[in-house]
């Protein structure tokens, strides 16, 4: 018992001793683990030994002893890449090291001859986590951790070539096949990439960057697919989505397309290539080498100003670009409705005319072709109220879509601005403000149509509480583009909206300003202005001040009001008054 008491006395000292040992031990371990025992240091040591071993002369050997063991990195700010890969892959440019095992191996093939490593870095082609300096983290392997871009291997690495090379390359057979298949198998009918494609399925513009968390194969497939794709979750998910689309979500409308393994891999490569980086780099490249062919999607927004449309089909073109383009394209794949390329040779003239004039009647009369289209595209076509003459013009245009020439300098054609065809010019602040006012209903539409906010909402700090009756429009511009928005506003293809704006069409400038506003909304969605409190702030400030005063009163009410001795004096006086005995 005495011994125990003694121990208790010393308890704090024992605690200090044990804690100090634990702390020293773990600080030492940590220092060793993180600063002296990094795997990259071993690789660099090995490389230095190899260099010394291969050196030709004694002086070389001596100078090689000074070869520094240090962190190395390639920084390419334009591509936002910080690549420390060469900390381990230290011999990547050293052609003598062709036969060494990884990571001391030189880069295979002759890619580095044409691709200056110091200008494009490593991760812009290979993905992986450039900032990391351990094997597992840099290659971004594994499922439990949250690495966004696992290292890509053949053939998936082809997906990254298009980040810079807009054209098809002969070195990327899988990518080329995948791109071709994507068009052949009509993926566009439901899925959009950029401005093009349907809206039934999820947009695929950024599918190559699908987040780890949201996109993961279902448990049944998970183990198998991760094994197959070297623990790369993105690829495993893409495979599952193509080969077994009903795995998740189970009620998908997507049909299982019979594809060979090779085709699936090719499609995966193509999908993997679709990412925000690609678009960012597209811009970079088109500035650098403006001669390359511009992708079809960009034609719409490439030129600015008003244009002049001439040629036999020009009238039809104008009608088409106002009314039909929201759902249909010519030769650019399906959108909400079918691609109309060659439609005049597929269908009879009368059928097309009826379909344009009154599609609802066509379906009600159980026209087999119309019903089949409805089954296929799910969204019923809406009559746009065109006159006979306009319908003829459109059909003329559909027959002969090439027979127009667009010149980007002339005045308006037949009184109609063809601005929509040319895409919007950069909108001014005033236009955006007017668009915002119109959207919110602060300013009425000229023809007294209902304001957008009644049904739609956007995420914008200038606007509060939009309706939830129809789609949220924050990123509508990214999804559809100016041209389609303008077309929808001009002649709504949606039944409710069409009814709402019946006999109350929007004016041309109203359409352009709203389009400009939506474009701006999409641009600034991540970067909103702080709220403006103005008069509210004054009110709250006053309330706070009043509260503070009240608080002070509460604590002060019991304060001394008279001098310190007042109490003493009054006590004395009182004592005298109340004194009963004799002095």
């Amino acid at each position: 018992m005495r011994g125990f008491n003694k121990l208790m006395n010393r308890f704090p000292k024992w605690m200090i001793l044990v804690s100090s040992i634990v702390i020293t031990l773990f600080l030492g371990l940590e220092a060793w683990r993180e600063n002296l025992n990094m795997e990259w240091q071993k690789y660099q040591h090995k490389y230095r030994e190899e260099l010394i071993y291969r050196a030709q002369s004694e002086p070389d050997r001596v100078s090689l002893r000074d070869y520094e063991i240090e962190l190395r990195q390639i920084v390419v700010p334009e591509l936002k890449s910080f690549d420390r890969c060469i900390t381990c892959h230290v011999a990547i440019e050293d052609s003598r090291m062709k036969d060494m095992p990884n990571p001391l191996k030189a880069h295979p093939g002759d890619y580095l001859d044409t691709h200056d490593m110091n200008k494009i870095g490593c991760t812009s082609c290979h993905d992986g986590q450039g900032r990391a300096v351990t094997f597992e983290d840099a290659h971004a392997k594994g499922v439990e951790k949250f690495w966004e871009k696992p290292l890509l291997r053949k053939p998936f690495i082809e997906a990254t070539c298009v980040r810079c090379h807009a054209d098809a390359l002969s070195q990327t057979p899988a990518y080329n096949l995948g791109k071709q298949l994507f068009q052949q198998k009509a993926c566009f009918a439901c899925h959009s990439i950029g401005d093009i494609g349907g809206v039934k399925g999820p947009a695929l513009s950024d599918i190559g960057n699908a987040s780890f968390h949201a996109k993961m194969p279902i448990p049944d497939n998970r183990h198998r697919l991760l094994e197959k794709f070297d623990q790369n979750v993105n690829l495993a998910y893409l495979y599952e989505a193509i080969a077994q689309p009903d795995a998740q979500p189970q009620d998908t409308l997507m049909k299982i397309t019979p594809l060979s393994e090779e085709e699936i891999i090719a499609l995966m490569v193509y999908l993997k290539s679709l990412s925000a980086e690609r678009r960012a780099m597209d811009i970079g490249v088109s500035q650098a080498q403006a001669t390359g062919p511009v992708p079809a999607a960009q034609v719409n927004t490439a030129s600015a100003g008003t244009v002049k449309v001439t040629g036999a089909s020009s009238k039809g073109y104008l009608v088409f670009s106002k009314n039909c383009v929201a759902c249909h394209t010519i030769g650019q794949g399906d959108r909400i409705g079918p691609d109309l390329k060659g439609v005049t040779s597929r269908r009879e003239y009368g059928w097309i005319k009826n379909m344009i004039k009154d599609p609802v009647a066509m379906i009600e009369s159980k026209d087999p072709a119309a019903l089949e289209l409805l089954r296929k595209y799910k969204t019923p076509m809406v009559g746009m109220g065109l006159t006979d003459e306009q319908v003829d013009d459109v059909i003329q245009y559909l027959k002969n879509p090439e027979d127009i020439s667009i010149t980007a300098d002339g005045a308006n054609v037949e009184g109609a601005t063809a601005q929509m065809a040319a895409g919007p010019k950069k909108a001014t602040q005033a236009e955006i403000a007017k668009g915002a006012a119109l959207f919110q209903g602060k300013q009425r539409f000229f023809n007294r149509g209902p304001s957008c906010i009644a049904c739609h909402d956007v995420r914008n700090s200038a606007i509060l509480g939009g309706g939830a009756l129809a789609k949220e429009l924050t990123d509508v511009h990214a999804r559809l583009g100016s041209m389609a928005i303008a077309a929808i506003l001009n002649n709504p293809p949606f039944l409710v909206m069409k009814e709402a704006y019946k006999n109350k069409p929007l004016k041309e400038d109203e359409i352009t300003t709203i389009t400009a506003f939506l474009e701006k909304t999409n641009e600034v969605q991540g970067n909103q202005l702080p709220g403006n409190y103005q008069s509210k702030m004054l009110l709250i400030g006053s309330a706070g001040f009043a509260g503070l005063l009240g608080f002070c009163c509460f604590f002060w009410f019991n304060r001394k009001r008279k001098s310190v001795n007042a109490a003493v004096y009054s006590r004395q006086k009182g004592a005298k008054k109340n004194f009963k005995g004799s002095l």
Binding site: K13, V22, V133, F146, H213, Q528
Partner: protein
């Protein structure tokens, strides 16, 4: 001759220089130590002598010192992290990655910062429970109890504002949840239809985030709060808090202490001689303090010098805290998910663990869970010393046998009620599931959270009548709150999955 003096001073310089720092000679005598304690601003926050009961391990468990020690560790590591951290939405995440991968020992420092946070929150909560159960908030100490409440709120605030800084998915969505909790008064104002004119929820959210959405403004604000504003108040109030302990006469202790209670705590052999050797200095009565008058002609019973006993105990606790944090940091990395992406919500998006109990309540009713119940709880905690003014023995866990019994019964009662209510809610749903058209007003006032609250209040009134004691009633209520806090936090952490549905295990979560 001034010249001679000058050279003499020069020769003596090393000695005088050192003496200006060690002003009372080497701390070999008790006197020198006491003088050192009194004349050093940092040590002066302690009294020179403490009662032996203060060092009783099973009385305090050293929780307050552990909380202060973790705050010190957090300050040091936080300052180190600030060297590399860049508070911008474009750079924050990458700078954390760099801290993790290439900054020398950066990963370890970040881990220490993270783990010390958790140690601090846990020890602060336990410290509060200790102070409550030993009735150490009574009499003059009620002010210090309020300071402690302030520190509690500041601790949560610091931890929460630090949560956003890595700018990863975990951070982004956790803070989204919390900012929505801040906006929850809208549920009530919407119901009254006055949100348009009077929107305190929206205002709170906008004040917190600087915008409607979490973006650069929010990050800047959180960084500012986390690194400047909250630490400033923390240091101020913490100083007051510790200083007040001294001014209130040291830690609370019973009037009559049995020798049994002090077994194993060092005695001061010299204490009986303290007043025998006439002190060289005379002491005047410098201020009036409440309490009993000093005993005349008798050595201060059962007191020992702070130096060394108290200081060694404090250093031991500091080292112990740091050791725990080091071990945890060595084996477990601080979490970092992928970069924040406003378009891909986490499902489930969970708040930091210490707010998960609240989030569970918020899932029943945003207003009640987010504002109503926390306000009631905090207000209730803050007012305890003013509502319970019974005279009693301080410094004993649960006071006496009756107190222990009430605490035990309250523990069982609260656990049973909370678990039963959770099970009921999971199994059968709540009003909204039975009457889909019910007005939200009913849900706001009748939801599992308020029902739980009612159960607890009824129980505490029951105790008030049964034992005729405000203190016992307070013990009952406090125990109920602590128990339900723990259970709700556990439940929301482990059994809530995507869409806030119930799951036994995390492996049962669906994917989409």
């Amino acid at each position: 001759m001034a010249v001679n003096d000058y050279f003499k001073n020069l020769v003596n310089l090393p000695r005088t220089f050192v003496e200006s720092f060690i002003r009372h000679g080497k701390p070999t005598s008790e006197r020198a130590r006491s003088q050192t304690v009194m004349s050093n601003i940092f040590l002066h926050i302690h009294s020179t002598r403490i009662h032996r009961y203060t060092l009783k391990k099973t009385f305090t468990f050293g929780l307050g010192i552990m909380a202060a020690a973790s705050f010190f560790i957090l300050t040091v590591t936080g300052i180190l992290l600030m060297v590399y951290y860049k508070p911008s939405v474009d750079l924050a995440y990458d700078s954390i990655k760099d801290i993790h991968y290439v900054v020398p020992s950066g990963r370890f420092i970040r881990n220490v910062h993270r783990w010390a946070t958790n140690v601090m929150i846990v020890s602060v909560i336990f410290h509060m429970a200790r102070v409550f159960y030993t009735a150490a908030y009574k009499e003059t100490r009620s002010f210090n109890w309020l300071m402690g409440m302030g520190l509690f709120v500041l601790t949560l605030g610091l931890s929460f504002t630090g949560y956003l800084l890595p700018w990863d998915q975990l951070a982004y969505w956790a803070v989204t949840i919390c900012s929505n909790i801040a906006a929850s008064p809208r549920e009530l104002t919407d119901l009254l239809g006055i949100t348009h004119f009077f929107d305190p929820g929206g205002l709170m959210k906008v004040l917190l985030l600087g915008s409607e959405e979490i973006g650069q403004d929010a990050l800047t604000r959180f960084f500012w709060l986390h690194c400047i504003v909250l630490p400033f108040f923390m240091v101020m109030i913490l100083s007051v808090h510790i200083w007040r302990v001294r001014k209130d006469g040291g830690l609370a202790r019973p009037d009559h202490i049995k020798d049994k209670d002090l077994k194993g705590i060092r005695e001061d052999e010299n204490a009986k001689h303290v007043f025998e050797n006439a002190p060289q200095k005379t002491y005047g009565l410098m201020c009036l303090v409440k309490g009993k008058s000093p005993v005349v002609g008798k050595g201060p019973e059962n007191t020992i010098p702070s130096w060394p006993s108290l200081f060694i105990a404090e250093i031991a606790l500091f080292m112990f805290t740091f050791a725990i944090v080091c071990v945890l940091s060595y084996f477990f990395d601080a979490p970092l998910k992928e970069i924040a992406n406003p378009t891909v919500p986490e499902n489930p998006a969970k708040a930091p663990w210490y707010f998960l109990g609240l989030q569970e309540l918020v899932s029943y009713s945003a207003f009640m869970g987010g504002v109503g119940i926390p306000t009631i709880a905090l207000l209730g905690l803050a007012l305890i010393p003013y509502l319970d003014r019974e005279k009693q023995t301080l410094g004993r866990w649960f006071d006496n046998r009756t107190g222990r019994r009430v605490a035990r019964h309250s523990f069982l009662y609260a656990a049973a009620v909370t678990i039963a209510l959770l099970a009921f809610t999971v199994k059968f749903g709540w009003l909204r599931n039975w009457y889909p058209d019910l007005s939200q007003a009913v849900i706001i006032f009748i939801n599992p959270g308020t029902v739980l609250l009612t159960f607890f209040v009824v129980w505490s009134f029951h105790c008030l009548y049964k034992y005729d004691s405000t203190r016992l009633s307070a013990i009952a209520l406090f125990t109920c709150f602590i128990v339900s806090f723990v259970i709700l936090t556990y439940f929301a952490t482990y059994h809530r999955g995507p869409n806030w549905h119930f799951y036994w295990l995390k492996s049962q979560w669906p994917i989409h």
